[in-house]
Amino acid sequence: MTETATPYIAGKRTPKKSADDLRAQIPGWGADLDPADRPSYPREQPGIETGAHWDFPERQPEKWPRERSIEHAVLPPVFGTSTPPAGVSGAIRRYAYKYSEGRAAHWLLLVAADRVDAWEHHLKSFATLHPDNPFTETGVASEFRRHGLSSRYGQKRADVNHQWIDPIIVGGPWILAAIGIGAAFKALRKQRSA
């Protein structure tokens, strides 16, 4: 007769290795068995020593009007200064910060700004000696040196069913842009020869 499974009765029937067996087999087994030995127990530890020697930190200079969440009462005293908002993407970002973090509009505008930002920079890069190169910047050459095929096929990977989308996401806009430029060039030549 089949035994009744655990959840239908009070006892837990799943066989377990004893603590002694586990201690013998697993280095350090049970070293943190006592919650008091766990550094994040309890989660909040008022009065913890942090090394801070200030009640409120000195303020870092604000070199441009720093975009901030409207859920903040004041501008926090310290912040990152990487990549200030600029151009069209910067305008979208500044607008996004008019919405709180609780609003979908805030995040969706920021995601849209990210896409605009990428294309602003791609276009700008063509006016420099260091234009964007999707081949080198995607690192796709490693496919040939790092077993691109054998890493994927013949394995039981769940991600192979969607990896075909990646080249479309990355290369698709470049191909469309190239086709658009080609069509515009052709139309211009046709217009001139007419």
Partner: protein, 382 residues
């Protein structure tokens, strides 16, 4: 200096940038010797994290040498070898004063829901990161620590995020002796979570993934039982069978925003950016834990909504615990575990990528080529 810069989704390159300057009296400038690419960097790389700006330098796992210090720095001096937690935090706000360093309120103007993280978009404060030759480290008296003389530099860099995050994930599970612990994800954080579950007295540790080479690592490094979810029609049912239909006592989501296993969830999140993350692992965690059990979430998700099965979590009476790891709180105990030989963080390192080749490093890690588990970034090598 040479630094990795983001050029848009799936594109990065190395550029010349100015060496960062002291911007606050408690800043330090650190010359990076070892960095790393984290699985969560891939969310940025794939364009999933809102307000990820072209030109930003990623990298929140790094160690190096102090190059310069601000006028109020007391605990560090030029030349000190330091390890820097991925959290940027002040040490004095309401949250830091209670040990919630990852929730600091004084370092991130862009959002109140998340603290500061190096090289992790403007949503996390707009700080450039450590995949570069130099990096600005705010609150030098609070975050960084000198690397102990006995500690290997590659162990130290793993202690800036992946190892403490896994260890913290196991703590969030409130594991008691004999518990069955399931870990979704055999990446670096999942491997450390599985290893840590034993330290806390687990009776069984089961790791789930779809990459066989990572499951092999989970068996050898973390002594775990493993299941490849692609071998089963329904991994939740398999886990019920494995636990005599009770469900696991504790389940840890160490996957986060780009989980695989459901085409629609993955594509809507990772490719179309319509969700903050693909909550496949989280939903499996909710469904495979026992009623009254605990789900610990240390996988990273973006701030946009995700299709999480919250009704099941409510009906099962689950405890759900989660946070970004307050790294420095974990260090003293983890140092002991390393010295006692219970843990060797650098055992999971598989690749050492020169900074100049970082575009290929990102592609290899993103596409999971070459049996990659943990890539380190080495500055100053070609």
């Amino acid at each position: 200096m040479r630094a990795m810069v983001y050029r848009g989704p799936y594109k990065v390159r190395v550029e010349e940038k100015d060496i960062p300057k002291i911007e606050h009296p408690n800043d330090a400038i650190v010359r990076v010797s070892r960095g790393a690419i984290c699985g969560s960097d891939l969310h940025l790389y794939h364009g999933m994290m809102p307000d990820t700006r072209v030109g930003m330098t990623f990298g929140h796992e790094f160690v190096g040498t102090v190059h310069d210090v601000g006028s109020s720095v007391q605990n560090l001096a030029v030349g000190d070898r330091v390890m820097v937690p991925f959290n940027v935090y002040c040490g004095s706000c309401y949250f830091c004063a209670r040990g919630l360093y990852s929730n600091c309120h004084n370092v991130n103007p862009n959002a109140t829901a998340v603290g500061g993280i190096y090289g992790y978009s403007h949503t996390c404060g707009g700080y450039d990161g450590g995949q570069a030759e130099f990096v600005r480290v705010p609150f030098a008296d609070v975050g960084p620590s000198k690397i102990p003389d006995w500690m290997d530099e590659e162990d130290a860099v793993l202690l800036t995020d992946a190892c403490p995050t896994g260890y913290f994930g196991a703590q969030l599970g409130d594991i008691v002796e004999g518990d069955t612990v399931v870990v979704f994800g055999a990446g670096p954080v999942g491997l450390f979570a599985a290893k840590s579950a034993w330290l806390m007295g687990a009776g069984r540790v089961i790791v789930i993934d779809h990459l066989e080479y990572r499951l092999e690592k989970a068996r050898s490094f973390a002594h775990a039982e493993t299941f490849n979810f692609t071998d089963y029609k329904d991994i939740v049912v398999q886990l019920k069978k494995e636990t005599d239909y009770l469900g696991a006592d504790v389940v840890i989501d160490a996957v986060g925003a780009e989980a695989d296993g459901n085409f629609l969830q993955h594509v809507t999140a990772s490719k179309l950016k319509l969700q903050g993350g693909s909550p496949i692992a989280l939903n499996w965690a909710i469904d495979s834990v026992r009623k009254g059990g605990t789900v610990s979430v240390v996988g990273a998700y973006g701030p946009i909504f995700s299709a999480v099965k919250f009704g099941d979590a409510m009906n099962k009476g689950l405890t759900m615990r989660m946070n970004q790891c307050p790294v420095k709180r974990q260090w003293p105990r983890l140092f002991e575990h390393i010295r006692n030989g219970y843990l060797k963080p650098s055992d999971i390192v598989t690749h050492r990528i020169p900074l100049e080749h970082i575009a290929e490093g990102y592609h290899i890690f993103s596409a999971k080529l070459d049996n990659i588990i943990k890539p380190l970034v080495v500055a100053g090598q070609s």
